[in-house]
């Protein structure tokens, strides 16, 4: 079944269309990367500014493949017991008590407490579970937040798609998951891992593309408002800001404007809602001090 779904996509256009039908507007280059990741079953490493839709790709991919999405959010200190598996210690100890009470203490039973029943499966183990009906999409989100040790572990996992649990043995799957890795570059990902992945840098979208995204995601916004918002955001990105607004911020902003029943950009409401776009006080001040009216005039002139 899953084979059918993947082989269903024979061209890059197919992938692009399928993503579009789930309201994700992808460039041809991005669609190519996704298409190749599907065909080659290679992890896809996505980098880019925050809020350009890296995580979203995994969600869309899971939707178009009609499979489950397993998400591993990385953080500093993530280790095997939170990412791969852990033994259920409480249950183990209770079980030993029970065994003692009933007076049985055979080798067999002792082995049992290190059996699958007592195993807590964390995302990575779930992703390569042979019992999966079809290969899931594994999203390893913000890998840059994890430590080097975890990255090294991942390197091993991504090349063989097998996990060894000393007490049970090696678990592997015929059908490896589709892996999407994202990074915000707060730390450099090691070259060894990069080489094992297909690499794609997601840039801020062009004006037309962002407009299409807004239209697809926010159908309730008028075309006029959508265009004004996109042009305004593009103006902001050309200013030298500490954190330029991403697509996520654009969508956020437009929904704030809709909540205020705005039909087009007016200086007052722009100033009131800047917080949806800019997340640093310095940036808010910088934009606030600049001539917003002039920018708006320029936009309306378009």
């Amino acid at each position: 079944m899953e084979q059918e779904l993947v082989s269903h996509f024979t061209t890059i256009e197919d992938v692009q269309k399928a993503m579009f039908s789930h309201s994700y507007i992808a460039d041809r280059s991005l669609a190519t990367a996704v298409f190749l990741a599907l065909k080659r079953r290679k992890p896809l490493l996505l980098e880019g500014e925050p809020g350009v839709g890296k995580t979203e790709i995994a969600k869309v991919l899971a939707a178009i493949l009609d499979t489950k999405l397993i998400r591993l959010q990385c953080y500093e200190g993530i280790d095997v017991s939170t990412a791969v598996y852990e033994w259920n210690y409480t249950r183990q100890m209770l079980h030993i008590r029970l065994m003692e009470a009933s007076g049985t203490k055979h080798e067999e039973e002792i082995k049992e407490i290190f059996g699958p029943d007592f195993l807590i499966r964390r995302p990575l183990l779930q992703a390569i579970d042979p019992a999966n009906a079809r290969p899931p999409v594994l999203l390893i989100d913000e890998l840059d937040r994890s430590d080097e040790e975890f990255e090294a572990y991942l390197l091993e996992l991504l090349s063989d798609f097998q996990i060894t649990i000393p007490e049970i043995g090696t678990i592997s799957t015929e059908e490896p998951p589709f892996v999407i890795i994202t990074s915000n570059r707060t730390r450099e990902i090691h070259d060894a891992l990069r080489r094992r992945c297909l690499y794609y840098w997601i840039d801020f979208p062009t004006l037309e593309k962002e407009f299409a995204i807004v239209r697809a995601r926010m159908p309730e916004a008028s075309e006029r408002l959508a265009r004004q918002v996109c042009t305004f955001v593009r103006e902001l990105r050309s200013m030298d800001l500490y954190k330029a607004p991403g697509v996520a911020e654009t969508l956020d902003w437009i929904s704030s404007l809709l909540a205020l029943h705005q039909l087009e950009l007016v200086e007052g409401s722009v100033r009131d809602t800047l917080g949806a776009l800019l997340k640093y006080q310095d940036d808010v001040l910088k934009v606030g001090n600049s001539d917003i009216g002039k920018i708006l005039q320029k936009i309306r002139g378009l």
Binding site: F35, K39, E47, Y89, K105, E149, R194, R195, L198, W201
Partner: protein
């Protein structure tokens, strides 16, 4: 499959490997594994669509965003400019020859590439003054020979070393520079540790290691008798060095680069930047094992060697583009500069403030601080001082050793950054009543 098809396929393979080599020359290190992978991948796309071919190559061969500009240019040149169709007839004759010729870009393309990679051959030649380097190298070799003759590999007695340590870099003779470089290479560096969020098995520690405990206590039944523990793992802090290489620093900058090189090779996690009017990231260049190679590579990468200084702008660029990438995990920042700034002092103030807020400790090394009558009164230095945690000299070997001690003593405690403490520190540094006899 017709024979011509096979030929075409092989030709494509050949061209691809050639392209790989070209990328390698341009500094994009494409491994054989990646090439094999690419060939596998190309099966899935329609090779006649230029855009798809381009995207696929990019996806498979690149590993970071910075490479894209170089790649784009190489791609365009290799696949569309170099072999234009009307050259094909000639090519057949010269096919064998071509294999032997080293892949080289024509000068015009090289110039454009150089711009992309921030290098400029011409400027390098002027800057480095090759004759001088040549002479030095010759002298160097002679020195080595002499040492062999004398059979004294150390060459320097203890007292000489002691003198050398106190001597200002500025007054070094050529031999002394060599000796100083050798001594620097011998220095060992330690950086203060920070606790990570990972835990490792340990004899004692605040956390129970449940996994080992259950296993070990199985033999006692349900009683947990032997406790096993885990402790928080410690790791050295990352170090970020931002070094001034403008004209006013020229007496020091080469030796300081050597110093940065030894630090980067002695410590695990070091990012290095140099600046004059603009900031250049030189960590990769300094990764070279051989210090002379590394320093040569750095000077190639830098466009504004011995030019003016705009510290504020350089730090602004750093804060915008690099701070988030390299200042995570409690980094220590080391700025090496004499504080002669031609830029706007208010910019410098704002950027120093931001920088101090985003790092664990901000250390400023000033080579001029070595001379007893120096006062940090230039506009730039005055603007920056309130945001500096440590203000240290860097004019001789002793001062570097002193720096080493400070680096290894950095602990978890945050430096005091209250306005009062700042004012007091600045006053002390300006009056220089703490001048040590280094």
């Amino acid at each position: 499959m017709r024979p011509s098809d096979i030929e075409r396929g092989e030709r494509l393979l050949y061209r691809l490997t050639e392209f790989g080599r070209l990328l390698w020359e341009a500094g994009i290190y494409v491994g054989p594994r990646q090439m094999l992978d690419l060939v596998e991948t190309l099966k899935y796309i329609d090779l006649t669509v230029k855009e798809d071919f381009y995207n696929t190559l990019k996806c498979c061969l690149l590993t970071r965003h910075e490479q894209e500009a170089i790649f784009d240019q190489m791609f365009h040149y290799f696949w569309f400019v170099r072999d234009n169709p009307n050259k094909k007839a000639k090519e057949k004759k010269g096919a064998v020859k071509r294999e032997e010729r080293r892949l080289r870009l024509p000068p015009s393309e090289r110039k454009r590439l150089a711009e992309h990679m921030n290098t400029s051959d011409v400027r390098n030649e002027i800057r480095n003054d090759p004759r001088q380097t040549e002479r030095r190298r010759y002298q160097d070799d002679q020195d080595a020979d002499q040492e062999d003759d004398q059979g004294d590999p150390q060459g320097t007695a203890y007292s000489t070393i002691e003198k050398l340590r106190k001597k200002d870099f500025e007054d070094y003779s050529w031999d002394e520079v060599q000796e100083a470089k050798r001594l620097m290479a011998e220095m060992r560096w330690h950086l203060g540790m920070r606790p990570t969020r990972r835990k490792a098995p340990a004899r004692r520690g605040g956390y129970l290691d449940m996994r080992r405990m259950v296993r070990r206590n199985l033999k006692y039944g349900a009683e947990m008798i032997e406790l096993t523990r885990r402790e928080i793992k410690m790791k050295p802090r990352p170090l970020v060095i931002i070094c001034d290489i403008s004209g006013s620093m020229s007496l020091y900058s080469r030796l300081l680069l050597h110093f940065i090189h030894t630090i980067s090779n002695g410590l695990l996690n070091v990012e290095a930047f140099v600046f004059g009017t603009r900031l250049t990231h030189v960590t990769r260049q300094l990764k070279k094992r051989d210090v002379d190679d590394a320093v040569r590579d750095v000077s190639k990468a830098v466009q504004d060697w011995s030019g003016g200084t705009r510290i504020g702008d350089a730090l602004h660029y750093f804060n915008q583009h690099w701070a988030r990438r390299v200042l995570g995990r409690g980094a220590v920042v080391l700025i090496i500069s004499d504080g002669w700034d031609r830029g706007d002092a208010s910019v410098l103030r704002v950027e120093m403030d931001r920088l101090q807020h985003s790092c664990h400790r901000l250390i400023w090394l000033n080579p001029l601080l070595g001379s007893p009558d120096y006062r940090p009164l230039t506009i730039g230095m005055k603007a920056a001082l309130p945001f500096v945690d440590d203000f240290l000299p860097a004019h001789n070997l002793n001062s570097l050793i002193h720096l080493g001690n400070i680096l290894s003593s950095i602990d978890d405690s945050r430096p005091v950054r209250s306005p009062v403490a700042r004012r007091k520190a600045v006053e002390a540094w300006t009056r220089r009543n703490n001048s040590s006899g280094m």
